[in-house]
Structure formats: structure tokens, C-alpha cells
């Protein structure tokens, strides 16, 4: 007997939850009101930053309807719940059902749009074709202007990818594991070389679309929110230095918008090839922080991992603080004179704080009270800055400085 829509929704969202990405940001502005030369009467809008419509108890943002078209798969990737050798319950949506769910969820303001991925059925092109059809029907037939993210199927033909980019805001190809050896070992049917080639082709198309053509002076729209990828953390032996190095390489070579890190999580009917571990959530968090330092704070990857002989990030303190403690000679930083690059390196200063400091100090000399009103944690920064009326010289020389920041060990009591 065919399973009900509800039963299949349960299976196919359960199967999608191991993908960390949920972003619905960074695309072009669109709406359905008929302003700005767009035809009116459709459904949906995108306004720059995405919206999280709910949060699950795992703390993750729910922004998109994240589902698989089907969890049948002819591949056998060891880390994946949908691999062909898994005994998980299988189900499949028709394209019409995916479209209906997306539109009805959207109308009730549950979601920003659709993140569609799929196991591979028959072959790559057959699967990709169905996914493209869903995106096309949403856009063309139903005038849907919300967000669409399609996970491209490995080895799908260039023509299908090209078509996907016309309808989707974002396309992604998962790199899966941080090293080629890892991919070959755990995803035997996937080839790191092909994954990188696909990323390269996507980059070329996205870049081309960014160039206004001579004749029309208008830009073509091709995946305006760019491409992203995901790496599973903790399934293989790769160190944080290796992982971050791979990310930096991907950001530079293919201009990815995001690399998502997904702590390897136990899955039902897990393959024996993999460790049965608790997902390394703290490690995942530190990797995101390091990734952030690389992209927005001017840090090089080598700097972030330099102080760590085993290439693993410090789990007890964040990587920016760890770097500062390793490089005490560069502190304290005078908030009234230091340049932007150095201000960004102060633990406790975010990019917005630095901007506010740079603006305010043109008009007055800043004291610690000013930082407090900028919502900076004075406790966190006082060892690293000088300000009008404040100099921390003694603090920065303290040999126990690190211990001031390390969270207190949990107290044990006798029952």
C-alpha cells in the first residue's frame, strides 16, 4: 500500500536533516507585488537576509522546507542514511507533491522556500531532471518568487545544471569529506576530481551571469545566491588544520558562499565502517568560528592553527582568543589609534563594534565606558586594550591569563 503524504513527509524530512545548510540569504531582491517592473500576482519574496521561521530543539534554524525527493539511492556512501545498503524505510514524492507542499507551507508563512535534495534513482541525469522540473514548475507555472536551493546530483549533465541555475537561487555540491582519500574510502562511487570539476563549472557560469552582456546590458540570472558545500566532520581522521585548509582552498578556487561543517552524527542502521560517536558539536562550533575569522576578520588559516602542534583547535576557548593568547606581544591595542585590521583581532570585538569605534573616535577619545555602551564585554576585552584612562599592562603579562577565560570546571558534589 502506498504510504500517505504525511508518512512520506516524515521519512523524507528525517532523511534530509543531516544536511546542515538552511540559509535563505544572499539572493537578489524579488517580490510578488508588481513593483520594480516585476509582474504582479505571484507568491513570494526574497529581501536579502533570510528568515528563520522556527528553531528545532537542536538549535538549528528552520528556514526552508528541506526534504529529499526520494531516499532511494543507488550509491552506497558509508556516512549516509540513504545509502543503498541501509535498511531505512524508503519513500518517494512525485514532483507535484513537492510543489504542493512548498506552496502550501509558504502560504502559511512556515518557510522561506524549498531546499531540495535527493538520493540517486536510475541515474544522475534522470534524478536531476526531476528536480529541475520541480524548480521550473514552481517558477514558471506557479509564479513562485521565494527561495529555491537545489542540491545538484553528482555527475549530472552540464545542460541540466545550467537549467537548474536559471530557476534556483543557490546550487550546492557536497565535497562530503575533507580529504580525497576520505571521499574515495567512504563514498566509493563519487570522485573528488568530478566534484571539483562541477564546482569549477558552476563558478564559471555564475561569473558569466555576473557580467552584463554587451548587447542587452542586463545580467542573466544564474544561481544569484551562489554555491555552497558541506563537509562532514569527525567521520574520518582529518585534523582541523586539514579541514580549514580544504575550506580555504574551496573559498579561493570556487568562490563558495559558504562551507558548512556537519558534525558526524549517528544515523540509524549506521555502517560498521564508521565510528559510533556522539556528534563532535563543540569541534563543529570552533570550526565555524575559525571559518568566520578567515572570511571576515583577516586571519590566515596558518595563523589560526599555528599554535597547535596536532592541528586541532582548542576546544575550551574560541580560536580568536587562543590566537591572542599566543600572540600577546601584539597587545594591548589602543582603541583610539589602532588600525582596523588590529582592532578586528581583539577578542570580544565584532565587526560592528569595530565600525562603531572607528566612527566615534573621530569625535571623541574613547574610554572603557564607551565600550560598555557599545555592548562590549569589558571583562573579556580589558586585558587586550588600552583606552582613555585605562591601561592593562599588568594584565597582559599575567602568566595565568588563559585561566581567566577558561570556563570553570563543573563542580562535583556528593549525593
Amino acid at each position: 500500500m502506498k504510504k500517505s503524504l504525511k508518512a512520506r513527509l516524515a521519512i523524507l524530512s528525517d532523511a534530509a536533516k543531516y544536511d546542515a545548510s538552511c540559509a535563505s540569504s544572499g539572493t537578489t531582491r524579488r517580490d510578488s507585488s508588481g513593483s520594480g517592473g516585476q509582474e504582479s500576482g505571484g507568491l513570494g519574496s526574497t529581501e536579502g537576509s533570510g528568515i528563520c521561521h522556527a528553531y528545532a530543539p537542536d538549535g538549528r534554524c528552520i528556514s526552508l522546507l528541506k526534504i529529499l525527493m526520494t531516499n532511494f539511492c543507488i550509491y552506497d556512501c558509508a556516512y549516509c542514511i540513504n545509502r543503498s545498503s541501509s535498511n531505512v524505510e524508503r519513500a518517494r514524492f512525485s514532483p507535484e507533491e513537492v510543489i504542493w507542499l512548498t506552496l502550501e507551507f509558504y502560504r502559511r508563512n512556515y518557510i522561506e522556500g524549498l531546499f531540495l535534495s535527493s538520493g540517486i534513482i536510475r541515474n544522475s541525469d534522470y534524478t536531476m531532471e526531476q528536480m529541475v522540473r520541480i524548480a521550473r514548475d514552481l517558477r514558471v507555472t506557479h509564479n513562485f518568487r521565494g527561495y529555491i536551493h537545489l542540491k545538484t546530483i553528482p555527475d549530472a549533465s552540464a545542460k541540466l545544471i545550467e537549467e537548474a541555475g536559471l530557476f534556483a537561487d543557490r546550487l550546492s555540491i557536497n565535497i562530503e569529506l575533507p580529504t580525497d582519500a576520505g571521499v574515495e574510502k567512504f563514498a566509493p562511487q563519487k570522485h573528488p576530481r568530478n566534484i571539483r570539476r562541477s564546482m569549477g563549472e558552476l563558478k564559471t557560469k555564475i561569473d558569466e551571469a555576473g557580467e552584463p552582456t554587451l548587447r542587452t546590458r542586463r545580467r542573466k540570472t544564474f544561481a544569484p545566491a551562489g554555491q555552497s558545500t558541506q563537509m562532514i566532520i569527525g567521520a574520518d581522521e582529518a585534523s582541523d588544520a586539514t579541514i580549514l585548509g580544504t575550506s580555504a582552498g574551496l573559498y579561493d578556487a570556487y568562490r563558495l558562499r559558504r562551507v558548512y561543517y556537519s558534525a558526524f552524527s549517528p544515523i540509524p542502521d549506521a555502517s560498521k565502517a564508521l565510528p559510533l560517536i556522539k556528534p563532535p558539536l563543540v569541534r563543529e562550533h570552533r570550526l565555524y568560528q575559525a571559518d568566520w575569522l578567515y572570511r571576515f576578520y583577516g586571519f590566515g588559516i596558518e595563523e589560526i592553527t599555528a599554535g597547535r602542534p596536532d592541528g586541532m583547535l582548542d576546544l575550551t576557548i574560541d580560536p580568536k582568543l587562543a590566537w591572542a593568547l599566543e600572540n600577546r606581544g601584539r597587545f594591548p591595542v589602543d582603541i583610539n589609534t589602532a588600525d582596523k585590521e588590529m582592532l578586528l583581532r581583539v577578542p570580544g570585538f565584532g565587526t560592528k563594534t569595530v565600525k562603531a569605534i572607528l566612527s566615534a573616535r573621530q569625535f571623541k577619545r574613547l574610554a572603557m565606558g564607551d565600550l560598555m555602551r557599545l555592548k562590549v564585554s569589558v571583562k573579556k576585552v580589558q586585558a587586550f586594550v588600552t583606552a582613555s584612562g585605562w591601561s592593562p599592562l599588568k594584565l597582559i603579562d599575567r602568566s595565568d591569563l588563559r585561566s581567566l577565560f577558561v570556563p570553570e570546571p563543573q563542580q562535583l558534589v556528593l549525593l
Binding site: 513527509l9 543531516y18 529581501e47 528563520c52 545498503s85 559510533l276 573621530q362
Partner: protein, 274 residues
């Protein structure tokens, strides 16, 4: 001087009063700003209506306008005083808004952040429920409880997004609606409608299954989706059970070793291309 305002998020109301006061040279500490609600209970002081007309427009830095518009929507009774004090100081301290660490500016930005956050949560947590439609277009109704007087300023967002359907968002701080032609706003408190929508059941199914019990982070969820919103979210009453069952489910997943059998279709595939 006592200035009584309706005080339900109408920027024009404050602007008219502030312009007039400024042109008369009234210093901030001489003004007592009162809302109609608060004034109504105070029978003996006859409400002085704001001085009207004759006031020349005042010039302010461009950044002041959006900041003041946002401030006026805040529900804190001191918002009008704060906005006027900024306006007053800006007449001589032209760079004031660049000094984010100034106590008045910092406070204004704190109010502004709170109003923005409230709007953002409105965009996120409004849940439409379908109601019978009278014409061709489908019709939806929502109930939301904002902290501040933000309903009118967010009409545009919902109009841009839900153009092809009729909708009404009712709140204790006013209601907005859209019928394909006009947006209507009323600042009077609305009543909570009682409506069921079957789609909520599918959404709850999705919410329960997209959650990974091996990664429980309850505090993170609650900072972003504070409990005060839960009563109007169809999915929220699932949360306690999801949390309670998580550890058990997580351990269960981890403990369940891979079975020794594989599905038939895997064997077939495997047989086909070894």
C-alpha cells in the same frame, strides 16, 4: 508642558508635536510626554493637545529619520522624550549620531534594535491559517502578539510576499489586511480569532522529523525562539516531548549496530556491478 499623544506607533503624530515644540524653543526637560491611555486615568489634568501648525520644518541628519521612526514604535513610555532630546541636541551637536557610545545615542540604538528584532520575529512567526474565501482569491488569517507598535510598518513586507492571496494579521496592537488592491490598517486592539487549519498537522510532522535528537541544544533554540511566542506557533507544543525523548532516541540510534542484512535492491545493484 504636558503633551498627550495617542502613542500607538504613529510617527506623524510625534513629528508634528516635536517640530512645534522645537520652533518654540521648548527645552526637553520642560516637556512631559504622556500617552492617551495613561492620561485617561488622570482626570484632573486636562490633556493639553500638542501645539499645532506654524512650525517650520527642522533639518536633521539623514540618519535621524529612520532612527526616530523606529523609536516611536517602541512601547517604552520614555521613547518620546528620548527622541525629542536627540532632536534637540542635534541642533547644536551635528555629529552626535556618529558617537554610538553617547548615552542617548546608545539608548536609542538599543530601542531601535528591539523594534527591529520584534519586526523580524513578526516576519518569522506569523502563522497564516486558511479561512473560507468570498471571491476567487484564497484567504488567510493570523494572530500575532508583538512587543511594540510595529504592525503598520510591516505591512509592506507581507504585501510584497503574499500578493496573490487575501490576508489579515490581527494583534493586540492593531490589525492590517490586504485584499489585492489596498492595505488597511487599524490601530485598535484586535481579538484573537479561533481557526483551525489542517496544514498545521503536516507542518508539525515536518518540524518533528527535521530535528536531530543527537544534537540537542535547547538554550540556543530558546534564545532565538523565546517561549513567549510558543502559544501562537502550531509546532511549539511538540517541543517538550521532542526534548524529553531526545536522549533516548539519540542513544538508540548510536547503539543500533548496522544490521547484517542489506535491502534486496542493494544486492541487485551489487550483483549487477560488483
Amino acid at each position: 508642558m504636558r503633551i498627550v499623544l495617542r502613542a500607538r506607533g504613529d510617527f506623524e503624530e510625534w513629528r508634528t508635536a516635536a517640530r512645534a515644540l522645537l520652533s518654540q524653543g521648548t527645552v526637553p526637560r520642560d516637556i512631559e510626554w504622556v500617552s492617551e491611555d495613561a492620561a485617561g486615568s488622570d482626570l484632573f489634568s486636562a490633556p493639553a493637545s500638542p501645539p499645532i501648525g506654524g512650525a517650520a520644518p527642522v533639518s536633521v541628519p539623514k540618519a535621524f529619520l529612520p532612527l526616530a521612526e523606529s523609536l516611536i514604535c517602541h512601547s517604552d513610555p520614555s521613547r518620546f522624550d528620548l527622541a525629542y532630546r536627540l532632536l534637540w541636541r542635534l541642533q547644536t551637536e551635528h555629529a552626535l549620531l556618529h558617537i554610538r557610545s553617547d548615552p542617548d545615542v546608545a539608548r536609542a540604538h538599543a530601542f531601535d534594535r528591539s523594534v527591529h528584532r520584534d519586526s523580524h520575529k513578526m516576519h518569522a512567526f506569523v502563522r497564516f491559517k486558511e479561512v473560507p474565501a468570498s471571491g476567487q482569491r484564497r484567504a488567510f488569517v493570523s494572530w500575532f502578539e508583538p512587543d511594540h507598535f510595529i504592525v503598520a510598518r510591516n505591512a509592506g513586507f507581507f504585501r510584497r510576499r503574499f500578493a496573490d492571496m487575501d490576508w489579515l494579521i490581527a494583534t493586540p496592537k492593531g490589525a492590517i489586511s490586504w485584499d489585492g488592491t489596498d492595505v488597511r490598517f487599524c490601530d485598535a486592539p484586535a481579538d484573537k480569532p479561533d481557526i483551525q487549519d489542517d496544514a498545521d498537522d503536516l507542518w508539525r510532522t515536518y518540524f518533528a522529523n527535521i530535528f536531530n535528537p543527537a544534537r540537542l541544544k535547547v538554550k540556543m533554540m530558546q534564545t532565538e525562539m523565546p517561549k513567549k511566542y510558543w502559544k501562537n506557533l502550531p509546532e511549539a507544543d511538540l517541543i517538550p516531548d521532542l526534548i524529553a525523548g531526545a536522549e533516548h532516541r539519540g542513544r538508540d540510534m548510536a547503539a543500533r549496530q548496522a544490521s547484517d542484512t542489506v535491502p534486496k535492491f542493494h544486492e541487485r545493484l551489487h550483483g549487477r556491478k560488483p
